[in-house]
């Protein structure tokens, strides 16, 4: 589920508010999105893929992460290079090669 909106990275572009299929976000008073309906999150990673500044983090769990979870530690995730890792794999973002161009899996076992 979505766990982090890193406000210092956010440019208030509203992309995540638009693309989220289940309307998890509302625009906060300062323009930074807030997680208004956490339980709506279907852990589909779309918001993270569309965030142009890698300000969002979707934890791999389909239920909320506990308060002391590493999945709620924005600084730790940024240091570990995890923020933006999905977008990097997709090759979305200026100057990156699209991942789809090289997405060739192995032949399936007979």
């Amino acid at each position: 589920m979505i766990e982090i909106v890193a406000s210092e990275r956010c440019i208030a572009c509203d992309r995540c508010i638009d693309v989220c299929p289940t309307r998890v976000f509302d625009r906060g008073p300062d323009g930074v999105p807030v997680i208004a309906r956490h339980s709506n999150c279907q852990t589909c990673f779309q918001c993270e893929a569309y965030c142009p500044t890698d300000a969002l983090f979707v934890a791999p769990l389909a239920t909320p992460a506990p308060a002391n979870s590493e999945f709620r530690d924005a600084a730790g995730l940024a240091t570990a290079g995890v923020l933006g890792s999905y977008r990097r794999e997709l090759g979305w973002g200026r100057g990156r090669a699209l991942g789809a161009r090289t997405a060739v899996g192995p032949d399936y076992p007979g």
Partner: protein, 532 residues
């Protein structure tokens, strides 16, 4: 729905409901036919549904007779011989053309082989769907995001003439009058948390049946996907390289991704099951990471190396998303049994190309692109021939919208009750009449409560409607499952374990308060003049 003051009315030629692959292809082909198109999605066209969040194989076969023959023959027995060669052949043709178009016009970056030829049998969901959205926009289609359709509109002759939808952000009702409607609203996965499918609640089937359509193959709705415990990662292809284990790390005999998934289900009833992708070579492991990066995204974040670590798994219900049942297709342009109404993608039955079984996304993906394109063209032709509908249109939605009594049922309770009857393996996967009968009875009771007392206001209107659609879907599934007294395709009955040659025909199901199922008669499906 009582809030008539908040109604905004749009008028168009073709309304497409659902913005996944089927809906976007429908919008593209209708717009290319020269008509005005509105595309409404419950979430966001480009990010919603089963495809946008995944990578999917697609049933794309090079135009070589031997390869096509092998592709068609390979799945006929698995599907219980309910598919049709005519439909398979035209889906292969159409998929070939659409994937070429996707590369050349949408500029989808297909990988290339060592000869520089594009490899078009696999799609990365986010990349595919964002390009579909851009194409739809460039063709001048009006896109309505976060606007779930609630019910269809029909004219005095029963011709489908648009829909009423809800703008979730404003809470306003939008009335969209149209010359024809394409339902491409996905299947139903009962909000089991299968990847990207919380929006797939069977709304299309409910709206279609309320307008007079019938369903086909609803018994083929027992698909379950493997996922690491606690996640939404229902991408199963790579489990072809998995071994399955008990908690003590002994091998779970008979368990397999294909042909042994029911062993996993049976075991999960009493103990945890673990997997490890330990049958992949080093080279295959590298290729897998390249092929499906979002599969590894979840493992990486969990700190699990799926090739060397044992990880606990579960099975999540995929209902009619990976099942093959849906709205019956009555003609070659994906028209339904109701004039003005077309069905595409997972909303429609996919039995025509894969019978009662689909192992993965590839047939569904090919069907979505093909049926969407045909439905868009068919709807455009119908709308041109008919003209815009008159002013006297009637909304046909019932359950969840217009309770017959006092509102005393909440949508969350209804969803929880449906899930209790359709998610458990011992009910829906490992089917037996002794268990299906009481489950169906319970769903009937829930339906009666929904009819009488489920309603909502504001944004929750569509939540109530989703809950009603899921109850209806579960009832159609189990009614059909009880009517097919044999095992065929994915539908396995423990009390009827054998395939019965007498039941080698598709099964139609319908009705709202009183359900019915009956065999499809031999001459009812026509393709290019050939009776099925």
């Amino acid at each position: 729905m009582t809030n008539t003051e908040a109604i905004e009315t749009l008028r168009t030629d073709v309304l497409v409901i659902g913005g996944g692959p089927a809906g976007t292809w429908a919008a593209i082909k209708a717009a290319q036919a020269g008509v005005d198109v509105v595309l409404a999605d419950k979430g966001y066209t480009g990010a919603s549904g089963a495809t946008a969040s995944v990578g999917t194989g697609i049933w794309y076969v090079e135009d070589v007779p031997e390869l096509r023959e092998a592709a068609m023959a390979s799945r006929e027995a698995l599907g219980g011989h309910l598919a049709e060669r005519d439909w398979m052949a035209r889906v292969l043709d159409e998929t070939h053309a659409r994937m070429r178009e996707l590369g050349e016009v949408q500029r989808y970056p297909f990988p290339v082989d060592t000869n520089g030829q594009p490899i078009r049998d696999d799609l990365q969901g986010p990349e595919y769907m964002r390009r579909q959205r851009t194409r739809v926009q460039r063709l001048g289609v009006r896109i309505l995001d976060h606007t779930p359709a609630l019910e269809l509109l029909v004219d005095d002759d029963g011709v489908v003439s648009g829909a009423v939808a809800l703008d979730r952000a404003s809470g306003r009702t939008v009335r969209i009058e149209a010359g024809a409607v394409v339902l491409a609203a996905g299947g139903c996965a009962f909000q089991s948390k299968t990847l990207g499918c919380d929006v797939d609640t069977g709304d299309g089937a409910l709206m279609a049946v309320e307008a007079g359509a019938v369903l086909s193959g609803m018994e083929f709705s027992s698909a379950y996907a493997i996922a690491p415990m606690g996640t939404s990662l229902t991408k199963t292809a790579y489990y072809s390289w998995a071994s399955f284990y008990r908690a003590d790390q002994t091998v779970l005999e008979g368990a397999a991704n294909y042909g042994g998934r029911s062993v996993i289900a049976k075991t999960l009833l009493s103990e945890p099951v673990f997997a490890r992708l330990d049958r992949a070579t080093k080279a295959e492991r590298v290729a897998m990471r390249r092929g499906q990066p979002n599969f590894f995204l979840v493992f990486d974040r969990l700190g699990i190396d799926p090739f060397t670590d044992f990880f606990e798994i579960t099975l999540l219900a995929e209902g009619t998303v990976r099942g093959t049942g849906g709205v019956r297709i009555a003609d070659s342009s994906c028209g339904t049994d109701v004039p003005g109404l077309y069905a595409a993608g997972d909303t429609a039955t996919r039995e025509l190309i894969c019978g009662g079984f689909t192992g993965g996304g590839s047939h569904n993906a090919a069907w979505a692109a093909s049926s969407g394109s045909w439905a868009g063209q068919g709807a455009a032709r119908f709308a041109i021939g008919r003209g815009r509908p008159g002013a006297e249109l009637r909304p046909v939605g019932g359950a969840g919208l217009r309770p017959t009594g006092t509102v005393d049922v909440g949508h969350r309770d209804v969803v929880a009750e449906v899930q209790r009857q359709v998610l458990p393996y011992e009910l829906n996967y490992l089917r037996h009449g002794d268990r299906l009968t009481p489950a169906l009875k319970s769903l009937h009771d829930t339906w009666s409560e929904v009819r009488a007392g489920l309603g909502a206001a504001g944004e929750d209107v569509f939540r109530a409607r989703e809950a009603a659609a899921m109850v209806a879907h579960g009832r159609w599934m189990y009614h059909a499952a009880l009517a097919r007294t044999e095992s065929r395709g994915m539908h396995k009955r423990a009390d009827f374990p054998a395939q019965d040659p007498e039941q080698r025909r598709r099964l139609l199901t319908g009705g709202l308060d009183d359900l019915w199922s009956r065999p499809e008669s031999a001459a009812t499906v026509l393709v290019g003049g050939h009776a099925a």
